[in-house]
């Protein structure tokens, strides 16, 4: 059985979209060291996306390239979790503007990297040797992202009254989006069947333990889930993704066929 390309795109789109979001802090971080840390996270994610798109392009053949996949697919073709495309602030419509909130950034990086350390760990045994190699490299990077975001989550939660309130608000806002981790998309199902992917559902207890432990140390509470389960990974996104892609893809699309 061959590697389901849609599954590689899911992993690649996750990385590129969150990489794009993290890079938005470059030049605007709360302290110079954090500008650099988030640039580093972003660089790792863009690097992961490139390898995954390259692998997908290789399997697709024809004139597929990493940049065709990143720059010339529309929002409905993107397969990332909705969580990752959200702006760095609370719940607002797509065309609303608000200041970036570092708590939102940190909590999102934490929730995602807490999942991905387990996913990459499992994918090291993927039947696709290219994906297994990408997973080994990504695991190291993601462990750092988890470490960085967890440290800040604890500092914020157990810091000042304001930082605690902001961190709790970010947890309340973002936690519902993590429900999307636990549904199974057709691409994931096919990849699991092909032994290319691991069953994410099986990672839930480990993720829960990581999250609950960090929230407890941060003196934050985990909200009970109620609400809408997002479906970004099957191409049904929030209003925010088309803005993100519009900005990211605009220049490349204005010069189709150009080499940079």
């Amino acid at each position: 059985m061959s590697t389901p390309i849609d599954y590689l795109l899911h992993l690649a789109d996750n990385a590129v979209v969150l990489g794009q979001r993290n890079a938005e802090w470059c030049g605007h971080g709360p302290i110079l060291e954090e500008d650099m840390a988030l640039a580093n996270v972003s660089l790792d994610l863009i690097g992961q996306a490139r390898l995954l798109y390259q692998r997908a392009a290789e399997l697709m053949g024809g004139d597929a390239t990493e940049d065709k996949l990143a720059y010339f697919r529309g929002p409905h073709e993107f397969r990332n979790y909705t969580l990752l495309e959200l702006p760095h602030h609370g719940a607002l419509v797509g065309y609303a503007a608000a200041d970036r909130d570092y708590a939102t950034t940190i909590v999102r990086n934490f929730l995602y990297s807490a999942l991905m350390v387990h996913v990459w760990d499992g994918l090291q045994q993927s039947a696709d040797p290219s994906l297994a190699a990408i997973a080994a490299k990504s695991l190291k990077e993601t462990s750092y992202h988890l470490h960085h975001s967890r440290d800040w989550l604890v500092r914020m939660g157990d810091g000042t009254e304001e930082s605690h309130a902001r961190a709790q608000a970010a947890v309340n806002h973002l936690m519902p989006y993590t429900e999307e981790f636990w549904t199974t998309s057709p691409a994931e199902g096919a990849a699991v069947a092909a032994k290319v992917a691991i069953d994410v559902w099986a990672l839930r207890p480990a993720w829960d333990a990581l999250v609950n432990d960090a929230l407890a140390e941060a003196t934050l509470t985990r909200p009970n889930f109620h609400g809408y389960v997002t479906e970004g990974k099957v191409g049904l996104h929030s209003e925010h993704l088309s803005y993100l892609l519009g900005e990211m893809q605009g220049l490349a699309r204005a010069h189709p066929g150009a080499t940079w």
């Binding site: 650099m36 660089l43 810091g159 000042t160 902001r166 990211m248 220049l251």
Partner: protein, 335 residues
Amino acid sequence: MYTQAMDIPDESGKKLAAVSNAPSDQEAAFEARIDADGRIEPQDWMPEAYRKTLVRQISQHAHSEIVGMLPEGNWISRAPSLKRKAILIAKVQDEGGHGLYLYSAAETLGTSRDQMLEGLHSGKAKYSSIFNYPTLNWADVGVIGWLVDGAAIMNQVPLCRCSYGPYARAMVRVCKEESFHQRQGYEALLVMMKGTEEQRAMVQDAVNRYWWKCLAMFGPPDADSPHSAQGMRWGIKRISNDDLRQKFIDATVPQAKVLGVTLPDPELKWNEARGHYDYGQIDWAEFWNTVEGNGPCNKERLATRVKAHNDGQWVRDAAQAYARKQKERALKEAA
């Protein structure tokens, strides 16, 4: 990237008073070390004016690195390929790293990073005026690498031999990375020049806007340069503004030819007798006007730094509060 000649006067360097009338033993030792081209280290005695000049220069340089993250950061989200995006993020991150080493070097002179940032945010301290111009098309990123980092290298290589040890050592590391940036910028432009008509037009447009601004980065002509003589005496400045500028022009003209762009100066031509390129008049009125705050982006650059700092206050407060609590917990446990 960085800096214009680091002798732009600013408020933080206003009072460069003569220290004393009769040279003390310490002063004689300092002078002897300078004359022997030795290094001054943080624990060594140094004249107050030397210390102040260095703090002004190193902090201007550090501010330039972090303000310089903004014009290029402007294109990260829109970089036209993932490879160029990654290169640009890494470059802007390097500039932040340069800011960090430089703030640390300046801190060895007894001024804290907070004090230096206060100088930047209040408008008292200067940064390189090249960053007060906008980045209007993607080729600006490559041109900044090629020309702005290139000019910075010309300015900074001599600083690797600066008399103040921590600054000289920071410069060695910074210069290595700046040369890497310059090569990457130039390479990006080479690719664009081999591309479409529109890509070539972007490169030419960016060169047209940045060429003269880069020449001004070397600072005012030697005849009008207020701090140069003392800086030379102290081994803080090694080569004059005009000599550096000439060196930069001589090195850049052949690169422009290979690239296939026109440098926007009709008077630019080889002078056999001098063994250098002649060049036209730099618009110093425009330069000083921009240094004084009236350039196209001065207000945006500074306001953006101030906003980032103010918006980040709660995050820094949280880190401090948490560290304090951790310390108290450790003490309680020990008791």
